[in-house]
Amino acid sequence: MTALTEQVGHLSTLSRPDWRLVLPVGWLALVFLAALTVDWLPVPTPTDMDFMAVETLPSAEHWLGTDQDGRDIFSRVAHGARVSLVVGFLAPLVGLFFGTLLGLLSAWYGGIARTSILVALDAILAFPGLVLAMALTAILGASVGSVTLALGVLAIPSFARISRARALPLIQREFVLAAKTAGAGDAWILLREVLPNMVMTLVTYTLTIVSVMIVIEGALSFLGVGVPPPAPSWGGMISEGRSALERAPHISLIPAAAMFFTVLSLNVLGDRLRRRAEAREGGLS
């Protein structure tokens, strides 16, 4: 019966395209494609300076124009997308892994384990995020790896909070008691019984956090503590374009637009997923 209604639901979405699903997916696919294939496209490398064409508008030769040093903006945006996407997707994974682990442990065990985990998380949460990320990248040295790590650490507390909140009611459910009755150990119960029930929540939250991470990475690069120049990153490009904002606003606006549409797409997509997850979980309990 449910399978049937689901099928009917699929059919109706097929016949009428769901723009709030198609547009974000399309934009993200475009960004991914550009980031992956830019090396084979007939465009200059991101650091090539063409002094014959400085601050030009989009043309056949330079698809999105050039910046103050005559570097190709399309090439830089596509290469910058690599940084944004790598940091944006890997940092949440660091947070997802450690945060979920800590969240599960603090939900399952009481006493000192729980108290110390929660205190440590609160300490990270109480620290201004951007300052912590700046401090970490300053210590570790500015590179994609250290930015990823710093942002990943920032994401741990919120993932831990979310997974703990989701795990607490699940742990009270009878199937956990049934698993205990069947002789299952703690790790088994947490990973096989509790975790699978949290997947939807964690996935949707990860998508939301990806966009936050892309923005924070941009902010770090804008402030000059992110990925070091001349390697292109969206935040760095916005920052570099500031001096020419009156003459050639597209130098800042194009990477800003790329970031804006990427973050918007991720948020809309996350929202759709969350709604579907809520509908499913509502049916389960």
Partner: protein, 327 residues
């Protein structure tokens, strides 16, 4: 009762929970024996301690529970209360299995039935995936699930309540336990399915010579499926006897009152149902007197001041200062 060593022997088990109002006595001096191949029915009102007793046997109670030092739960002669974590995990599911009241919540909603069935076997019997899968199919067939192969990849919500309970039963008997604890296995099911499930349990029990502890608040179920019945009230076993004599000649007034409150076919339509006046009490640690005294029509003065000790009857015991006549 036969003289062999019982499979499960509970001796003087008492258990208290701390609450803001003081220590609540959840189990009070429980003694019972259960032999291989027998079914013991545990009946009583909600809150009488039936479920606490079943979880106490498997040591699944919160750490705040306070166990009396002289209580023992002997299984095959070994005291479960002295076992460590690892030892207990080897007993649970392998030697003692449990079936829960609501098959919807006892199954993990996001995992397939096959995975849930097989993991217990892999865990306890140390067999491979393929063998576990074969056994899982056999089990599903044994518990009467049609086309078992296609069920293995289904999720709990795709099955009806009765089917789900059959899967739960299959999971419980997967490792061939010696003792099966069924905690109100049919309460969440409708009446026609109830009989099917109980018949299935009975058949599996006879076939595998398991002992079964059937927890129920339905005296009709207890009468139909149990060899012996233990009546529980406010954490005490107030009477235990074999099913026939308990129903023919109850000695404890509470047992009598329970039976009187079963509606009968001969009753006039719309006649008032008999009920026991008052509400079940909560007993605090160290409180003397019979827990049922407040609601009892045969109360005497000592009932309020002295806890009645277990008195042997022909094939069991009862706790009462002023018991009903023996035949």
């Amino acid at each position: 009762m036969n003289a062999a060593v019982p499979l499960l022997a509970i001796e003087h088990l008492s258990l208290a929970f701390p609450t803001p109002a003081g220590e609540v006595l959840a189990l009070d001096d429980i003694c019972l024996d259960l032999h291989r191949g027998r079914t013991l029915g545990l009946v009583g009102e909600s809150g009488s301690g039936k479920s606490v007793l079943s979880r106490a046997i498997l040591r699944l109670l919160p750490p705040s529970a306070q166990w009396s030092p002289d209580g023992h739960v002997r299984f095959h002669g070994e005291d479960l209360l002295g076992l460590g974590r690892k030892g207990m995990q080897q007993i649970r599911g392998r030697r003692i299995a449990m079936i829960f009241q609501d098959p919807m919540t006892a199954l993990n909603p996001v995992r397939t039935l096959g995975a849930q069935l097989m993991e217990g076997m892999c865990l306890h019997l140390g067999i491979g995936r393929r063998e576990a899968e074969q056994r899982a199919l056999d089990l599903l067939k044994q518990v009467g699930i049609p086309s078992p192969a296609s069920r293995m990849n289904q999720f709990p919500h795709e099955l009806s309540g009765g089917m789900r309970q059959r899967v739960v039963i299959a999971m419980a008997i997967a490792c061939e336990p010696d003792l099966l604890i069924a905690d109100e296995p049919t309460t969440a099911l409708d009446v026609t399915v109830q009989a099917e499930i109980l018949d299935l349990l009975k058949a599996l029990q006879a076939q595998r010579r398991m002992a079964m502890l059937l927890i129920t608040h339905d005296l009709g179920v207890a009468a139909g499926y149990c060899d012996d019945i233990a009546v529980m009230y406010a954490g005490q076993l107030v009477e235990m006897a074999d099913t026939g004599s308990l129903f023919r000649h109850p000695r404890m007034p509470y047992t009598r009152a329970l039976m009187d409150s079963i509606p009968r076919m001969e009753d006039e339509p719309h006649s008032t149902l008999t009920s026991i006046p008052g509400r079940p009490t909560v007993r605090m640690a160290g409180q003397a007197g019979c827990p049922f005294a407040g609601r009892c029509s045969r109360r005497r003065s000592e009932c309020l001041s002295e806890t009645p000790p277990p008195t042997r009857s022909r094939d069991g015991f009862f706790r009462c200062h002023n018991p009903l006549e023996a035949p």
